[in-house]
């Protein structure tokens, strides 16, 4: 079993503000991040995939397929966007980096099979840096066999 990690980057703005809290509580909890105009970060996103190396190709998954998944389902909707206003999940959810990581993980898991019908490899981790001084990471367990759609013969990678 091998894990490959690919790094992506995006820039986005956000404002940390919880509707359930008063103005002063928001200010106390989120401090500068509660600025009503928002602020932005250069996020660094590491996506990890775990699986067997294909005996013929030496690949776990085709990297172009991983790029296609991450670009289509995440980056196109996040890069140079205001997360609070332009990413549906954050209409009701505070876009802390913890929540951004969980939203990205959920999106990648939701669409995984569409991009990797040929592979039993799974999304095993997401790690994200909000700035160089803080990072957030989730480990994702291997899905139960019943969760996965029928896995095609891995040799399909050659013809996919």
């Amino acid at each position: 079993m091998t894990t490959i990690t690919r790094r992506y980057r995006f820039c986005a703005s956000h404002r940390l503000h919880a509707e359930a809290l008063s103005e002063s509580e928001n200010n106390r909890v989120f401090g500068k991040c509660n600025n009503p105009y928002g602020h932005g970060h250069d996020y660094v996103l590491d996506v990890s995939v775990t699986g067997e190396l294909n005996a013929t190709t030496g690949l776990i998954v085709k990297l172009a397929d991983l790029d296609h998944l991450v670009n289509t389902e995440v980056l196109s909707g996040f890069d140079h966007k205001n997360l609070n206003l332009e990413v549906a999940e954050f209409e009701q959810l505070v876009p802390t980096t913890e929540n951004v990581v969980l939203v990205i993980a959920a999106r990648l898991k939701k669409y995984w099979r569409i991009y990797f019908p040929y592979s039993s490899a799974w999304l095993s981790g997401i790690s994200m840096q909000e700035t160089e001084r803080n990072s957030f990471e989730v480990a994702i367990p291997r899905p139960a066999a019943t969760d996965s759609v029928k896995i095609l013969n891995e040799s399909v990678i050659v013809n996919a």
Binding site: M1, T2, R6, Y8, L53, T57, G58, K62, A160
Partner: protein, 139 residues
């Protein structure tokens, strides 16, 4: 306790399967399949797990680790064309995954003792792509 040592080497390679067409190879590997080859600055992180020796206070003498990395990895691979000069990559596609496993095999044969074992290697092909091989999951 885990201790990690870093080493760098630069090498060229090409990722293609001879039995496949040019178009199929490009479909699978993208520009990595370009026949004339290209190169990377690989960065290798080698992690040992163990307890400090009660006498020396060291998990492993890092000078000795450096020498083993030099012999097994740097000398044979640095400034080489992997497909032509470093077996088994005359027969095996030198993807980052296969290269990481070959490095694991070479190092695991040389590292280990009463107090420590090779725990993990992380091989960066560049700043935006790396492969981990971890003991217990390596097979």
């Amino acid at each position: 306790m885990f201790i990690t040592r870093k080493a760098e080497f630069s090498a060229s390679h090409v990722c293609r399967v001879d039995s496949l067409s040019e178009a199929e190879n490009f479909h699978i590997y993208g520009p990595e399949s370009h026949a004339a080859g290209h190169g990377h600055n690989y960065v290798l992180e080698v992690t040992l797990e163990g307890d400090p020796d009660p006498v020396t206070g060291m998990v492993m003498d890092l000078k000795e680790l450096k020498d083993i990395l030099e012999e097994e990895i740097i000398q044979p691979m640095d400034h080489r064309f992997l497909n032509f000069e470093v077996p088994p990559f005359d027969k095996v596609v030198p993807t980052t995954g296969n290269l990481a496993h070959e490095i694991w095999r070479r190092l695991d044969a040389r590292l280990g003792g009463a107090h420590f074992n090779l725990s993990k290697i992380r091989l960066f092909e560049g700043p935006d792509l790396f492969v981990d091989v971890t003991r217990g999951l390596a097979a």
